[in-house]
């Protein structure tokens, strides 16, 4: 019971919101202090199902622009983390966010998921808060939620 805490793999879902940014910051600190851990950034919120549907109906460009924009932001985060000496990789995803996050954590045998929620104020909760709740329910590892 006295062995030191060591996280090796931490999954960090992001939608580039302030809450997700805070989660990332906490994850990076834990990666350094209770690691060294590798962060797996997953942009699981970028393309809502509605947009995918939209893409099918011809708005392919919108879809691709969004995907490109989120790739760009992920790259910026990776660069920032690298400068801070935190090892990280990113993966884009298309699917139900909660499934993508839980599946990734399971596949990569993650020790921890760190994710933002928007609390319960209005619409954001419906999106992010409920994703967090479903992740907590199904996660194979501990989940930290940050507001």
């Amino acid at each position: 019971m006295s062995e030191a805490l060591r996280f090796e793999t931490i999954v960090v879902p992001t939608d580039f919101s302030p809450a997700a940014e805070k989660a990332l910051e906490l994850a990076a600190q834990l990666a350094r202090q209770a690691g060294p851990a590798k962060l797996l950034l997953v942009n699981a919120y970028a393309v809502p199902l509605e947009l995918e549907a939209l893409a099918i109906y011809g708005a392919k460009q919108v879809y691709e622009e969004l995907a490109a924009e989120s790739d760009k932001q992920l790259k910026e985060i990776l660069e920032r983390l690298r400068k801070e000496g935190v090892s990280a990789e990113s993966m884009g995803n298309h699917g139900r966010p909660e499934d993508v996050i839980v599946e990734l954590a399971r596949e990569r045998k993650a020790d921890l998921i760190v994710m933002g929620t928007h609390g319960r104020t209005g619409l954001p909760h419906v999106l992010l808060g409920s994703v967090a709740e479903r992740v907590i329910r199904n996660a194979p590892c501990p989940v930290i939620t940050v507001k």
């Binding site: 030191a4 600190q29 808060g129 709740e133 329910r137 996660a139 930290i144 939620t145």
Partner: protein, 151 residues
């Protein structure tokens, strides 16, 4: 993003389930690795109103019993924490667990709540899982939810 992480006060709700014990295990490691932190163990209990009325009517010391039983177990846990050099205290509080947990986190200015949860296990989820969900939603600080190993 460069300052060191330090949890000062970590709240650990304790219902003596294996999930809560797994949460305690993680909390004590965090208290050392990302501390030094002070652990607050919290046992919240409540009786349905009808039972409480019955207990009062029959003069049954159910509430005292619940409270003293919990205190006894908490004292043992506290001793093992303090033997390991971890600063800690416990509280036994009456009320709806999610409310008591969130209120105490706010009162004590906790940096972190480490909460055991059963996750998806049929009916049990309705009881325990929903406490976790409400705590996550209302908590004034980050919350870690932990399941029992293999569970």
């Amino acid at each position: 993003m460069t300052e060191a992480l330090r949890f000062r006060i970590i709240l650990v709700p304790m219902d003596f389930s294996k999930e809560a014990r797994a949460a305690l295990e993680l909390a004590r490691k965090l208290a050392t690795s990302a501390g030094p932190a002070h652990l607050i163990l919290l046992h919240a209990y409540f009786l349905p109103v009808e039972m409480e009325a019955l207990a009062t009517q029959q003069n049954l010391p159910i509430l005292q019993l619940l409270s003293s039983q919990a205190s006894k177990e908490l004292e043992q846990i506290l001793k093992s924490l303090q033997d390991a050099g971890i600063s800690s205290e416990f509280l036994v509080s009456r009320g709806y667990p999610e409310q008591v947990i969130v209120d105490l986190a706010r009162d004590k200015d906790a940096d972190l709540i480490v909460l055991g949860t059963r996750g998806r296990t049929g009916l049990a989820h309705v009881a325990l899982g929903s406490i976790a969900e409400r705590v996550v939603r209302e908590a004034p600080c980050p919350t870690i939810t932990v399941k029992a190993p293999g569970g």
